[in-house]
Symmetry: C2
Subunit: 306 residues, 2 copies
Amino acid sequence: VHVRVLGSAAGGGFPQWNCGCANCRGVRAGTIDAVARTQESIAVSACGARWVVINASPEIRQQIEACPALHPRGPRHSPIAAIVLTNGDLDHCLGLLSLRESQPLVVYATDRVRRGFTEDNVLCRTLERFEGQLTWRPLPLGRAVAIDGVDGPTGVIVEAVAVPGKPPLHLARRLGAPDPEDNVGLRVGDVTDGALLAYVPGAAAVTDDVRAALADAACVFFDGTFWSDDELVRAGLGDRTAAAMAHVPVGGPDGSLDALAMLTAPTRLFTHLNNTQPLLRRDSEERAAVLARGWDVAADGMELVL
Amino acid sequence: VHVRVLGSAAGGGFPQWNCGCANCRGVRAGTIDAVARTQESIAVSACGARWVVINASPEIRQQIEACPALHPRGPRHSPIAAIVLTNGDLDHCLGLLSLRESQPLVVYATDRVRRGFTEDNVLCRTLERFEGQLTWRPLPLGRAVAIDGVDGPTGVIVEAVAVPGKPPLHLARRLGAPDPEDNVGLRVGDVTDGALLAYVPGAAAVTDDVRAALADAACVFFDGTFWSDDELVRAGLGDRTAAAMAHVPVGGPDGSLDALAMLTAPTRLFTHLNNTQPLLRRDSEERAAVLARGWDVAADGMELVL
């Protein structure tokens, strides 16, 4: 499986447009040891020619241009054969509306995520200009699915696993109580190779099911939104905790670093990094702590082959 | 009036994600004399400290980061005091949904544009998380309005002028027949200075009213989407003419270059350039032709003071 990291920041990106925290100021001024990041998304491929994009970030146009593997090879063409959504957050879905230049799209999502984006959303008509422009395909929980792209099978196999989360903020009133289909992690493989990628950019908790979904992966991407539960509050940037936003922090006694200590995957990366996350700084003690435990931090432009 | 060109390309940007035309291939490979452009938007300011953004492109986050004048000056802050929309096209509105990090926004638009974006659009709830997060203000036709920003008056004065256009593609069925409020040009000034900016990024025709709206401006931005009416058809990229897309071409006997020959503004710029537009190439004969007539071509990052 070929992997390209298109984006590795949480919603809002790094730096965030209206944020002047130490990290955002520092990366703009070039005074901290950190690089800018667009909003979290990866592309995976079995063959290297046709790609499955996981999550469609608002910055997808910029991300495509930064990734030559995703450039068109004809007058009207895209190597993007299909898109898979892990949840209905706008930083994962809004980019669909930027893929509207009369290009056929295939999108895999749970019913709940598909309905959250398409119902009561007149903007979606921009993707319904001709028969077959936008094709939604189901993403069942706990069952491996061979991803069929615009031009047929991609050779990529995806299994969605329910991961603790919640409905996106803008749908909270509409969707009501959380549902296992609100938020998934993906186990990604290909038809010719046993190596498995586990992609879990958002998780409210590390449960036994989550651990089981990651245990046999050769490469794990996991929710690195926050280092600590009260990170935003202490920085004076808001009153919401990581728990209130359905993200388990990386650090501390209840953090994912400890909860996932059993993992043996050679490559383990935190992604979906909020702009306040101390892991963004290459010289932070938090970064040293995760490196010492065999983890690293995802960055835009990373290329992996499993 | 201070002006920053945030983006100068038509919907889809340059290069466009699924386009392999000669221009898109060439700019990606660096083999033509052209620079990449994000989707059309400008920022204007009376004082240089607080800014009014005209049109919210899907790439607004990238555009803000590329423009130091728009960087925050506090932990949670934005120098963007207000946003003005010229029509409801997604390349002008989608960026609103990327300005969602609990920052108060003031948006000026005609009733028709506001309703086109907010009605039957569940995504807008992301901008309605607290009282006063998103404030819409009317943009009347033919009357100068002092733009009041998040923190009070901006010193920028805007007059919207009806310009021939049509409803955005995704709203065609919903909105029915075209309406003068579908598409406007803006006459922009400030309270302390007589110099006027005319901003007309989309126009289906050059009428006497359009000419009158531009006649006394010191700086004109005008619709440069296409050079010729059948540009997409001849390039094999579609079956729609410039007229069908409500854009008057720049060249030819019915083009805007001839129709606006009476303008005497020292600065005249074509903007909203489609990726097929030959004006994108600095060495094209079309570029030489507009330069000879006193026009130039807008580019991302341009700074002007009127």
